[in-house]
Symmetry: D2
Subunit: 437 residues, 4 copies
């Protein structure tokens, strides 16, 4: 009966919803939701669980933001583990740590919520509804740390539901349904896609795009990566994303440049897919295009300028001359072409320092560096004037970096990074590193 | 990139396995598996988790029974929760039951196994491997109750992975791939299918067959149900499963008879799908064939003769005359046609008693009755000479029963059954019930 | 191995082409094509026909317009029937009209071209190449009637290849691949689609779009129709095509309005699909939406104003008063709102006259009327201010017409129309008809 | 709306048929068919052609053999070209051979049947119905040569409809729907398949099977080929078709053996697909398994023993000694193991003579040799005791032959064969050839 599209399903749910709403006197949405949750957990749930779950999912889809927050509170408060039972179970296990007491304890630790959420998931659209519900929860959590318990449980479920083994790896191109393609325009987080013509360019014959999907969210990519097939490692982003750009020459490409990776579902924050996606794409490209031998990113350096500001604010450092320090302390050097040009050598050196050595909690300061180095990539090249967009100039003075994924070195790089904090660096970048004075 | 078939995947895995095995000196399988599990849980797992998981899955597929048991023991012993950590966490929470201490406790209760099993699941075939692994585990558990902890965790995972929301409902007919159809022949548990010609009959135009599948086990039905479209409620099984049977008349069918439901995966014992499947089939048939108005089973009564034996062994009862008692205490009445015929009224009455009133722990003694009544069906009719096969005679003196699924009464029936132990019975069957003397 | 997309195929062909072009010295394209045609018809063609055909198709795809015309001339001249053989065969049959002489004559009438074109069709993209080749041929034919023979043969082949039995009927919606959707924007011939957002509106939940495809042109619709689901028969086009339009009310639609039908392939001119498409859409909608009871078009009246001009130019007519005549002879009445308003009754009357009675060669003058009445539709209603666009005002003073497809009357209407020239007209439109003075 | 299966379609047609048949008084089938044909060609056909065609197809499906023959006669007699019109057109063209007179002649040569058959083809199942209709026609033609005209027209249509460009090349394996697989069992013409277990073996991992399908006959292969992947060129058929056979060793295969090619549709006799299929399979295997370097058949030699009988009956020949002649003239040598063994050298030599030199009308006598040599294959090896089945012994004394398809030599072999009658022969086989005395 094939893959049923999300949107069609949602349209059907909306119809269904209307029908439910037409049913005479009913409760305000949060109370109605409470009633449905109770029914779903009670004996009624066994007989008509799917129908109840469907009704609840429809209700959730139509809830106002305020009602949604009320629903989250209800989940947090009314379906939490029973402290008395947990206390009894903990004491029983401590007194006699047998299999039996352990099993009772394990059950007591689990909140009724977990069961409830599993039952909601029986309905078409249930998974999607819960992914969306986590968005306001993540917002709320900033100020209400007690919600961490609820979030931990939801994340626990998501980790299981969105296990790598359940994800579907798919190529996206101009043959992909529009309902998916429009999500790319909406979700592209690194280099904005300006409408359908721009998207068409991004999916041209010298490009590849891949995504992970989940069986229950068929029209919703979870994460996607955009790849350009090039001769040599690309040093600049503008030629790649220029809508008018065409494959410069007919020479067969030898390099795949990952120039944009976007997570699509805010509700899945903390469930990581990027690592798996990059490796699967490397495999897919090696199979399709055996002549591609080099796999690298062309990545932004989002924290670079901010780090320089912090460094110079701290006063003299052992890798800046006084003149450099004086120049950098004066704002505007990143966006002023002349000043920037004069700083080229300085900035290249600082960037190597920033990427290779600047760290917090033993890990690279730069979040993009952290991600790729943690995946086993190496820092291959720093590119002057790699991104001359406003954003590029402001965040990294136009510099970009290539992280390289060498299939033969990924594991070793990763292990060295995780165990010893060692960063894999090319000779070229190493030579930029400032000598400690 | 579409649905990749399990068998093709398994073939690919076998190839892969050969390749791994070709790699020089290696450990005995259980030790190698241990090494891989450690690697998978360690930092290596983050870099190349999918590859390690794949290697482990291949190894599991090729293991001898003995090695498989050794592997189960290893899981049970070496990846259990750390008692010291759990003790500390339990005490901390008891001393100060805050969110923080709760989260620590919840984590300490969870064994490393859970994480390990989730990581194994990243590999293609991982889910299948674990479903298969549970088969010997269930065997072992009979004599080794301490394995219940491991099994509880696996069942916990399976409950999440095989959530109704992830199951795919599919019609099975002569257009279904042979790789799936042969599973029907293998798994049919109620009325054996004797080869492909017999199967073809079961999938004829006056039949329907539906199954649940899971995205990661594309060639493996989880459960399937066989349906015959008839005029009126069928009273006998032989005409339905006779290979030479043809639709008797051209009159449009008005009834759907569910005459066989088979669970396919022993490793999923305890994860129930039947309830959902029957309801979904009712919905599917109502849509496809609006003229079908009656949905009923034609079911065996597996415990009937055994129960009579127990009853008569106990001596006089208030629903048996002395003559009946005397006759039934003499073995052979069920399979001797003449004696059976003489007992028709008695047996019909006893069967009503058995199905409606005989109970243990407040639930019907008969397992099939328990299943359908629990789902909200009612006992519609008891059929004399419903199943004259050897098995049918031996287990129920040839009697069969129709349970009826009336969409309008399912919820009410279920609730009455669960809350008050009330069994929904047709007037016809009620009239058979013995008057208490 | 599934449906292979046209564009992917074309990309592959382009690659292939490059490879062929890289092969050293070769002939100018038309001569090279001649060589390939000869090889294809000769013994070489039996051994490697598909490869030769592929090479020829690639060559055709890359030809300049001039070369393409040279190729058409070559087909017309060098692969025509052999007059001597035809003369001999005709004489032989005339002398002795037996099966044998007939078969020889039938073969002699057929030109070698037919065989050649069939062989070109063996290559992927062959059908598409020939459909495109017919475009310049149709242009050339206007001034060179001798090309009619070639065209008749190509049309003969196309009639066979594009037989209704080979067409695939598909619904088009937002789940359709972008590569097909962009064709809708390109090919919409009645009410222009202004980009993707506009297209999205046209494919909204209260809309339907259906098309015919051919197996060898998977990304190319042959014809498509746009349908709006409404309450009652729509009288105005602007509310339907307004990009901001939303379904006005929640009431379930009872009417399907066909508001745009576009043929997509100029090369298939004369091979008609519209008749089949409309009837199939009626069937599809009756199945999907049983509550839809009325099927009608909202159609332009492209020849209306031109016909009025012709009528008034001819002088007094028996259905125009002198005042009307005087007003209509003065240009500008169609686009001047005040003058038009004053003419409402006159124009409605004239429009009924034009659609029902104005004819040439015994068929309605208006091409759209000719099409729908020939299909068995009736004239249901004439709508004042149905299309206030510039084009609508200029061609029909803003009037539009609904043709109604009543499944129960299509055959009778069609027969009456074809045999007796009788036009099916609603009472409403009939009442508008001018009394003959 | 996807691919709709033939069987489902046929079931639907049967339903439809029942409904038509329920309609009160109707004509005997052939007369009813005549009425429908007339309606289809008349004006009614334009309005409701598809419905009429569908009705006719249903009627054809349900016709008795006798009615079917009556229908063929009707087609032959009542829808033939009009001799008067043809005569007039022929004379007009002879008098003035212009485009206009040619077009009239071309139209007059075409019989109304052609148009009729094209219209029947509009219905679902129309193509299938006509393919089936040609089966009795081919039978009848043997004794009624006047039917050749009708058959020529049908073949003309089929050539167009079953053009290589419209065929779909598909791999067949254990994932193929049963409705297709059962056709393999039914249609295998070379080495019988004994049921499903045997079929399963033929589709094992060391095997490949490919077929051509046509879009309108989705469940019906047109032709299929069975391939074994082996080390070296297989010399014996029994090990390949033994149901218990397993891939002997783990060594990667380097050779693809085409051991069975079966045409499936008797109604398509004379429309050849085999040539295309073999070449496409070679391409597919080169892509899937780049290590396969050799492509060869393991073929029967159906005419060998019969040819020897003819040769020895003729008396002394220049490649047989008197002793050989004496032995071979005595029946039974082919099936008597001892006599056959004594003749090994003689038979090998004779087989080379038979395959390489024995010809009729300038083409090889052996039909299988004719097919493969005509396709550009070479005779690679003659195998003693290649097929020890009864059939193998009787037709070729157990000998089999490998024809080799070397992608680099196919065209040259074919051209030499077609132009000069030259047969490509390996050195090994050449060395067997008898020296002319």
């Amino acid at each position: 009966m094939g893959r049923i599209s999300m949107s069609r399903m949602m349209a059907a749910l909306a119809d269904l919803g209307r029908q439910y709403l037409d049913r005479s006197p009913r409760l305000p949405p949060p109370e109605e939701a409470h009633r449905l949750c109770d029914a779903l957990l009670g004996s009624e749930g066994e007989a008509s669980g799917t129908a109840l779950a469907r009704e609840l999912v429809v209700l959730l889809e139509r809830m106002s933001e305020a009602d949604r927050i009320a629903f989250i509170d209800m989940l947090a408060n009314d379906y939490a583990p029973d402290p008395a039972a947990l206390r009894a179970a903990a004491n029983a296990w401590l007194a006699d740590p047998s299999e039996d007491t352990y099993l009772v304890l394990a059950r007591a630790v689990q909140s009724p919520r977990l069961d409830l959420l599993q039952r909601i998931n029986m309905a078409p659209g249930g998974t999607a509804a819960m992914v969306r519900l986590r968005e306001p929860l993540l917002e709320l959590m900033r100020n209400r740390p007690e919600l961490r318990v609820l979030d931990a449980e939801i994340r626990h479920l998501f980790t299981s539901w969105f296990n790598r083994g359940f994800l579907q790896f798919e190529r996206i191109d101009w043959h992909t349904p529009a309902v998916v393609l429009e999500k790319l325009i909406a979700y592209e987080a690194v280099h904005e896609i300006y409408g359908w013509e721009d998207l068409r360019r991004r999916l041209g014959p010298d490009r590849r795009c891949f995504a992970f999907f989940h069986p229950t969210l068929p029209d919703e990519p979870l994460i996607f990566v955009e790849v350009a097939l090039t001769r040599g490692i690309a040093a600049q982003i503008q030629p790649l994303i220029d809508i008018a750009a065409v494959a410069a020459n007919d020479a067969a490409p030898d390099t795949a440049i990952f120039y944009s990776i976007s997570n699509c579902q805010a509700g899945l924050t903390g469930i990581s897919f990027g690592n798996f996606l990059i490796k699967q794409v490397v495999d897919a490209l090696k199979t399709e295009l055996p002549k591609i031998g080099t796999f690298a990113t062309l990545s932004p350096i989002p924290g670079f300028c901010h780090w320089i500001d912090t460094v110079v604010a701290r006063g003299p450092s052992d890798f800046l001359s006084e003149a450099e320090q004086a120049e950098l302390v004066r704002p505007g050097w990143a966006t002023d072409a002349a000043r920037r040009a004069a700083l080229e050598k300085t900035l290249m050196r600082l960037c190597a320092e920033y990427l290779v050595r600047a760290s917090g909690n033993g890990r690279p300061l730069d979040p993009v560096a952290r991600f790729h180095l943690g995946n086993g990539a190496s820092i291959a090249r720093i590119n002057w004037e790699g991104d001359l967009s406003d954003k590029g100039l402001r965040q990294s003075a136009g510099l970009m970096v290539n992280y390289r994924y060498d299939p033969d070195e990924i594991v070793a790089n990763h292990e060295a990074f995780v165990k010893d904090g060692r960063v894999a660096v090319s000779a070229q970048v190493r030579s930029l590193l400032p000598r400690r004075r």
